[in-house]
């Protein structure tokens, strides 16, 4: 039974992907994508219901699975090398060779001697990731159906390129499932490289010059991580005689040797590249040229989450080391600086990208803080962030298709044009920003779990204050519209295709309900994982409140009181009589224009054009990025030097 479930989760997406590559018609494509998504969601639930497991598949297609994965691994690296040669890039070729040679060395000298063990395994962290892929990933793929139709109509393509698009999109889900269910690092490495190739293909999907350039950047940065991973395979085996994660984590906190610590650093380095941590943030920012479903997938349930997954996964193994403290500082630094960078941006996708990097920074920091409370915070942030961020990307995609811009300044008054999408965006923003929702709860957990280090608390707290600025002004300007003449709530002006609307709505409900269910999520998902590796309970959860020695966060009371206030306010606002509408104040000099912001001037009407403060002299990319990169690289160097 278990074998079938794992097979369905990892191999079915591959088969569906191949089928999608062959299907040229919209109808069958729709059925395959929706059916695959439904099966993945169902199987992820079934797998979760079964709980943790370890599994050693005996044979696959009549072959030894280890041999099969090794073969596929070399095939994949050959594909990458082929791409590198085709692009005539010496850097990519070098990075490709730097992976093939160590991998060859590893397979030739060690792999045959390695004791056979379970190559697949799952605990709650893996199962959470599978659930995220199964639900959030599938919803994003379904959204892609409606989005790509519109997208290609807009581009005016003669021949549809959707088979290629959905091939990689669905393949991605399988690769991600494989990655999180693998227990052997050699297997993880294979799926790791598979996600790199998928993201390269998807980022460059539109084939414009910019798309190609950004996809190459994503490729080389992730290959840098791949090189570190390949070297780590050798280092891990040399230091410990095993590449099985379950063996490496068998003695948590039991003083890893220096050689092993160096190997963990290499793996974390690979994680940093994949999670687009500083100074590798540019590949994720560049990835926004891809069609929106790609961004949504990269940011929510796949790709970047693979990076933090690996770092969180290894956290117990490097607990209590100086590497751990430095990782905490490194993540917190990313959170603070990307929050500042996001303040300087008006491009919605870039704001979301920086916010993703920042939130992943918090997860990395949580792994580095390495206490039961912080690990629980990291695991839960992984969940809440995936849902809210997927929602926000899907909203921006729908908005961009309608208004032709992703600049937030162009979204002023969107509530009058696209009431539903604007309201969902505001909902997404509020779930990212405010209590009692999950993202903020985990931020609170992270800050309080860092209490032993005032510097860390300081950085996390400052970052948290900065995020308020860029989220609030975005939510506010979406609502900035005069009262519609027909009534207080504008009639639904824009309607997206059902395949886009339904995933957006479901994710919005998911984001709110996940916040409401946070005590449950802690008890049934995060706490069991934490207790595998750490002694002592992180939080005492009772009556919907999280309590620890450091403080208390009352989820249910907050939901109740703030929710009551909100719904009373909503009812009040909806029931306003039409006569309460008034024009905005313009010193009595308004022209009576429908926009409501045009002054009567001596030489004719003068429109007041509002704009946000972007603090570009302080928060501009051109001001900050260079310094941030220098500091981040120094921190990485110190991390590595500190081990040696």
């Amino acid at each position: 039974m278990l074998e079938y479930l794992v097979f369905l989760l990892v191999v079915l997406p591959v088969l569906s992907a191949v089928a999608l590559l062959c299907i040229k018609n919209e109808g069958p494509r729709k059925s395959v994508v929706i059916a695959t998504g439904a099966v993945l969601a169902f199987c992820s639930l079934a797998l979760f219901a079964g709980g943790s497991f370890q599994l050693r598949p005996q044979s696959m297609l009549g072959l030894d699975p280890d041999v099969l994965v090794t073969g596929l691994d070399f095939a994949l690296l050959a594909v990458i090398l082929g791409i590198a040669v085709k692009l005539k890039s010496p850097l990519l070729i070098a990075l490709g060779l730097l992976q093939i040679l160590p991998l060859g060395y590893f397979e030739y000298s060690f792999a045959r001697h390695a004791a056979a063990g379970p190559s697949l395994a799952a605990d709650n962290l893996s199962l959470i990731m599978v659930l995220l892929v199964g639900f959030v990933g599938s919803l994003v793929c379904v959204y892609g159906l409606g989005y790509m139709k519109e997208h290609e109509a807009h581009l005016g393509l003669k021949k549809t390129r959707q088979p290629r698009f959905f091939f990689f999109l669905v393949l991605f889900l399988g690769a991600m499932n494989g990655l999180v269910l693998s227990n052997s690092l050699a297997w993880v490495y294979f799926f790791w490289e598979a996600t790199t190739v998928c993201s390269f293909a998807l980022i460059g999907h539109d084939g414009t010059q910019e798309a190609r350039a950004n996809s190459v950047r994503a490729l080389w940065m992730n290959m840098l991580g791949g090189v570190a991973f390949a070297l780590a395979l050798i280092a891990v085996y040399k230091a410990s005689g095993t590449v099985l994660l379950s063996d490496l984590l068998a003695h948590p906190g039991g003083g890893a040797s220096l050689a092993l610590l160096a190997a963990f650093f290499l793996l974390c380095f690979a994680g940093f590249t994949k999670a687009a941590q500083l100074p590798f943030q540019s590949w994720l920012c560049g990835a926004m040229v891809a069609p929106t479903p790609v961004s949504a997938l990269l940011h929510s349930s796949t790709m970047v989450k693979a990076g933090v997954y690996l770092i969180l996964r290894l956290a117990p193994a490097y607990a209590g080391t100086s590497l751990s403290s430095l990782i905490a500082l490194f993540g917190a630094f990313a959170f603070l600086t990307t929050a500042a960078l996001a303040i300087g941006q008006s491009n919605a996708k870039k704001i979301l990208a920086y916010s993703t990097i920042g939130n992943l920074g918090v997860i990395v920091a949580c792994a580095g803080i390495n206490t039961p409370a912080s690990i629980a915070a990291g695991v839960m942030l992984l969940i809440f962030h995936a849902v809210s961020k997927a929602l926000l990307f899907l909203c921006v995609g729908a908005i961009e298709q309608r208004i032709g811009s992703r600049d937030i300044e162009d979204m002023r008054g969107l509530i009058a044009v696209m009431p539903r999408a604007a309201a969902l965006t505001v909902a997404g923003i509020l779930t990212m920003l405010l209590p009692p929702f999950g993202v903020l709860l985990t931020k609170w957990m992270a800050i309080e779990s860092a209490m032993a280090s005032p510097l860390l608390v300081l950085i996390l707290a400052l970052g948290s204050a900065l995020t308020v600025v860029f989220w609030t002004r975005w939510a506010g300007l979406l609502l900035s519209a005069p009262m519609p003449a027909a009534g207080l709530v504008a009639p639904g002006a824009a309607v997206q295709a059902a395949s886009m609307r339904i995933p957006m709505t479901l994710l919005a409900y998911g984001a709110v309900l996940a916040g409401l269910a946070s005590p449950l999520i802690y008890r049934s998902l995060a706490a069991p994982f934490v207790s595998l590796f750490y002694k002592g309970a992180a939080y005492d959860v009772s009556a919907g409140s999280f309590a620890s020695g450091a403080g208390t966060f009352s989820v249910y009371p907050l939901f109740l009181l703030l929710g009551a206030g909100f719904f009373y306010a909503l009812r009040l606002a909806r029931r306003l009589p039409a006569r309460s509408a008034s024009a905005p104040y313009l010193c009595g000099e308004q022209t009576g224009d429908a926009a409501g912001n045009v002054f009567r001037g001596p030489l004719g009407p003068v429109a007041a054009t509002p704009a946000n403060l972007y603090l570009s002299a302080i928060c501009g990319e051109e001001v900050l990025t260079r310094w941030i990169n220098v500091i981040a690289m120094t921190m990485l160097a110190v991390m590595f030097g500190g081990i040696l």
């Binding site: 002023r412 008054g413 920003l433 405010l434 209590p435 903020l440 609170w444 800050i447 309080e448 209490m451 005032p454 608390v457 300081l458 707290a461 400052l462 948290s464 204050a465 900065l466 308020v468 600025v469 989220w471 609030t472 002004r473 939510a475 506010g476 300007l477 609502l479 900035s480 519209a481 005069p482 009262m483 207080l488 709530v489 020695g549 450091a550 403080g551 208390t552 966060f553 009352s554 907050l558 009181l561 703030l562 206030g565 306010a569 009040l572 606002a573 306003l576 309460s580 509408a581 008034s582 905005p584 104040y585 313009l586 926009a595 409501g596 912001n597 007041a608 509002p610 946000n612 403060l613």
Partner: protein, 284 residues
């Protein structure tokens, strides 16, 4: 637990009266400092009652929604303070109020409320880090973020965190919209933004925001009192002194720009905090 709950409830009910009264006294003393007679001390209550009786006029529905949420959040903060809850939690709930106030202001296309909203954001950017720093410094002394542990600590915090009191003073000046940081909602008639972030709120909506502001005043005074939590008399003296100093600063300074505010509040605030926190960690 029950007695704590009742105390918190009583505090929540009393808070707007305390806040309103403080505002009334504030106006009276300010008037005297400017050689005016000034309004009666209960004037803020008369104003709000009058506003509550007016028709609810809005530019769009969000303007009716936002003040209610702001008021809920502000009242909740005081309630949480009464429950001696988590300081960070109170801080985050306080953010809810600020965020909805700004969203409501941005919902109106009027340039005054737009500029006011942007400036209010800058004010939040200036005072939020300072408030957090104050809470972090509390946690370093008492070992937790719970207000209950401040009271359980048994000694006044002021001698250990003197610089943090000044930092809180900065945050207070900004949050209470006092000069030189009254940049988002300046009430002086000759200034160009016509109360900025509050321009488009009128009638009952404005009244709700005013009441929310009273809650905030009460909360901030409560936070100040934590610096001398061991004695009611000590706390009262500290509060009276701090608030009077606040009034003097309000009257002797001119309104500055948001750039000045960010540089000054964050620069000085961060420097003082680091000094105090480093000094504090060496002491331990």
């Amino acid at each position: 637990m029950t007695s704590k709950f009742l105390l918190a409830l009583a505090l929540t009910i009393a808070a707007p009266f305390i806040g309103g009264l403080v505002t009334g006294i504030d106006r009276k003393i300010t008037a005297r400092l400017q050689s005016r007679y000034g309004p009666p001390i209960a004037q803020p209550f008369y104003d709000v009652l009058k506003l509550l009786g007016k028709d609810r006029m809005v530019v769009n529905m969000w303007q009716a929604l936002c003040p209610v949420v702001t008021l809920t959040a502000s009242a909740l903060c005081v309630f949480l303070f009464g429950m001696q809850a988590d300081l960070l939690l109170i801080f985050f709930v306080l953010t809810v109020g600020g965020v909805f106030l700004i969203m409501g202001a941005m919902a109106a296309p009027s340039p005054y409320s737009q500029i006011g909203a942007q400036r209010e954001l800058m004010q939040m950017l200036a005072y939020e880090p300072l408030l957090i720093l104050v809470f972090v410094s509390f946690s370093m002394v008492t070992g937790s973020f719970k207000i209950a542990d401040v009271y359980a600590y048994g000694r006044p915090l002021l001698p250990q965190l003197p610089l943090m009191f000044i930092v809180l003073g900065y945050a207070l000046t900004i949050k209470l919209r006092k000069s030189p940081f009254d940049i988002a909602a300046c009430h002086h008639a000759h200034q160009e933004i016509v109360r900025g972030v509050l321009t488009e709120y009128s009638g009952p909506n404005l009244a709700l925001i005013e009441i929310a502001h009273w809650f905030d005043v009460a909360l901030i005074l409560g936070l100040c009192s934590l610096f001398w939590s061991t004695s009611a008399l000590g706390a009262a003296t500290l509060l009276a002194g701090a608030y009077f100093l606040e009034l003097v600063i309000d009257n002797v300074t001119a309104r500055m720009t948001w750039r000045f505010m960010l540089q000054n509040a964050l620069g000085v605030g961060l420097a003082l905090s680091v000094l105090n926190i480093v000094w504090q960690s060496f002491n331990n």
